[in-house]
């Protein structure tokens, strides 16, 4: 009956062995990661806590992290100011519809680049990369004027139209994702189908697309997120028409004063940082929900699509 612990066991418990890192290393690792994680989440925590504070908590310097009581008044105000149901629907359609189109078109283009040999492919890749580098500022004025002439300014079509031609927001990344995906897929099945007389488009739709589902999902969710958060082009092309959540947040002060005129309402209802933070939180809430449901797809995206393989 040996119950005592040998020095070797203590050593391996503290300093690690072949199978574990040991207590000291683990403590350092976890505390470092927790510290960096806190710094990372600090803006979000700050935003969430501030959004729950009422007037007295805001003015009380003793109240830093824990509001004295649960106060949801800021959210009600922000909800009204943002005109939430309408802007939410607008944001959803402005991000979902172009994303669906962008993903379909980029899959088509990526497949063409991966499976066919043709003259000028290198040039095409160079141009695709160029579209990623060229700032939107260098191309938006002629587009603005053209959309005005077409009468689609302020309408979601102004966002959809470039996506149809593979020129949507950050489309280069999605084309490269699909190129990489189709390149790494075995050709055998497609060749067999070709011998059976299937047309090229049929092969793409019935054989290649079903095999690329992971890449399709990754492109779709990233596309939605990026379209949702894009404000430079949406501000210009949707001005005067559709109002998305980020657009409305950018004009929060003005919208607030329209709804609660500063001369009329009492001092407790004036615009303060708590209301602004509530508005910001309502703005990212749909994205947070989406992220926590689909987080595996987000964090494993790069492994799943092998985008770094080039």
């Amino acid at each position: 009956m040996k119950t005592f612990i040998t020095i070797d066991q203590i050593k391996s418990f503290l300093f690690g062995s072949r199978t574990s890192y040991g207590l000291i290393f683990n403590t350092i690792l976890y505390s470092l990661l927790a510290a960096i994680g806190f710094v990372y989440l600090y803006p979000l925590l700050f935003m969430f806590v501030t959004s729950l504070k009422d007037m007295s908590d805001l003015l009380n310097p003793m109240v830093q992290w824990i509001p004295t009581h649960l106060y949801l008044g800021n959210y009600i105000k922000a909800y009204n100011v943002l005109n939430y149901p309408r802007t939410l629907m607008a944001s959803l359609s402005v991000s979902l519809i172009p994303s669906l189109i962008q993903t379909a078109v980029c899959a088509l283009i990526g497949y063409g680049l991966a499976r066919y040999r043709f003259w000028g492919k290198k040039l095409l890749f160079a141009l695709i990369l160029a579209t990623f580098i060229i700032p939107a500022q260098n191309t938006f004025i002629p587009q603005l004027l053209a959309y005005r002439d077409l009468g689609i300014l302020g309408h979601i079509n102004a966002i959809i139209l470039p996506a149809i031609f593979g020129q949507g927001y950050k489309s280069a990344i999605f084309i490269l994702i699909f190129y990489q995906t189709f390149l790494s897929m075995p050709k055998v099945l497609e060749e067999a189908a070709r011998l059976d007389g299937a047309s090229d488009l049929k092969i793409f739709i019935q054989i290649a697309v079903p095999a690329a589902v992971p890449s399709i999902i990754v492109s779709l969710i990233f596309s939605v997120v990026w379209y949702w958060n894009e404000t430079f082009l949406t501000n210009i092309f949707l001005e005067g028409g559709v109002k998305t959540l980020p657009m409305q947040l950018a004009k929060f002060v003005q919208a607030y004063e329209n709804l609660y005129p500063p001369g009329v309402v009492n001092i407790a209802d004036r615009l303060n940082e708590a209301v602004k933070m509530s508005g910001t939180f309502l703005n990212i809430l749909p994205l947070l929900v989406m992220y926590f449901i689909l987080q595996k797809w987000f964090v494993e995206s790069i492994e799943r699509t092998g985008i770094t393989g080039e």
């Binding site: 600090y42 700032p135 260098n138 004025i141 031609f165 404000t231 501000n235």
Partner: protein, 295 residues
């Protein structure tokens, strides 16, 4: 001979057919590139050489050659200052992003519990970062390094610095978390590259008596050199395209202002584009020069 030629003919035909179908698949993009990128780019360049006034009937242009560019570079002090600030900010934040994302990726590459939780945290900002959200958070001071900026010793230290060093240091202090928030994708790219390195190299090195420290510098880092270049370029582009970028805001304001206008704003965006390309080239060459020497 005959068979060969016939075969060559079929091969030729096959090649042409393949190319035609290939063009068919990418045709949409080629048309789109022309309509939404190439033509607008050339048109914007032409605007930049003109004085453009928008009238109810249409656009009026007066050709003034390079005057817009001259005015931007020699008469518009605000623009030049923003341009210099932009370059300094890029050169300050890109190394931070690279080092930070590499460290986090190295951590996440270890075996430990709750790894998924940390990975989720570090990628979260990518999902929620939009211009107005960042603007609201910055306005509330939520993006500065917690508490650091309010310390008097730090403030005194910053005030002591020479002028050209002060603005980048202040930038780092006020937008520290913001810079880290732009590392989400980069962390994942590093992580997937780390996982691709062959484990047997480390084992062989360990047998030869290399310490973990030595293997990091001699194996891990050299294997990541291509990834580092990709990350540097990706970071510069995302930071430069971000709608809260001060230069972008300035160009946007000039587009609709009376003294600016379409022509002047176009000239500004081309100057901005040129600086961006130059910056990418410099970073690319610098990283590749270093990488080649380390082999």
């Amino acid at each position: 001979m005959k068979i060969n030629r016939a075969y060559g003919g079929i091969e030729m035909k096959h090649r042409t057919r393949e190319a035609l179908y290939g063009y068919g698949f990418v045709m949409l993009w080629i048309i789109g590139f022309g309509l939404f990128t190439a033509i607008p780019l050339i048109q914007t360049f032409l605007y930049s050489l003109n004085k453009v006034t928008v009238k109810a009937t249409g656009i009026e242009q007066v050709f003034i050659r390079w005057d817009n560019y001259r005015r931007a570079l020699f008469a518009d002090a605000a623009f030049v200052e923003l341009l210099v600030e932009y370059v300094i900010e890029m050169l300050a934040s890109v190394p931070i992003i690279i080092i930070f994302s590499l460290i986090i990726a190295l951590f996440l590459n270890l075996r430990f519990r709750f790894k998924g939780v940390f990975r989720t945290i570090f990628f979260l900002p990518v999902v929620i970062t939009s211009g107005p959200v960042i603007q609201e958070l910055t306005a509330q001071g939520a993006t500065s390094a917690p508490g650091l900026q309010n310390l008097t010793s730090v403030a005194n230290f910053v005030a002591e610095l020479p002028k050209y060093l002060r603005s980048p240091v202040e930038y780092l202090l006020t937008s520290f978390i913001l810079i880290l928030w732009f590392s989400g994708v980069q962390i994942l790219i590093y992580l997937s590259s780390l996982q691709k390195i062959d484990k047997s190299i480390y084992e062989a090195a360990a047998i030869d008596g290399a310490s973990a420290w030595e293997s990091f510098w001699k194996i891990t880092l050299p294997s990541l050199s291509t990834t580092t270049t990709i990350i540097a370029i990706y970071s510069i582009i995302t930071l430069s395209h971000f709608s809260e970028n001060k230069l972008i805001r300035y160009i946007y304001l000039q587009t609709y202002s009376v003294e600016g206008g379409f022509g002047y704003a176009s000239a500004l965006s081309f100057l901005y584009f040129a600086v961006l390309v130059l910056l990418l080239l410099i970073v690319y060459l610098a990283l590749n020069f270093r990488a080649r020497r380390s082999y």
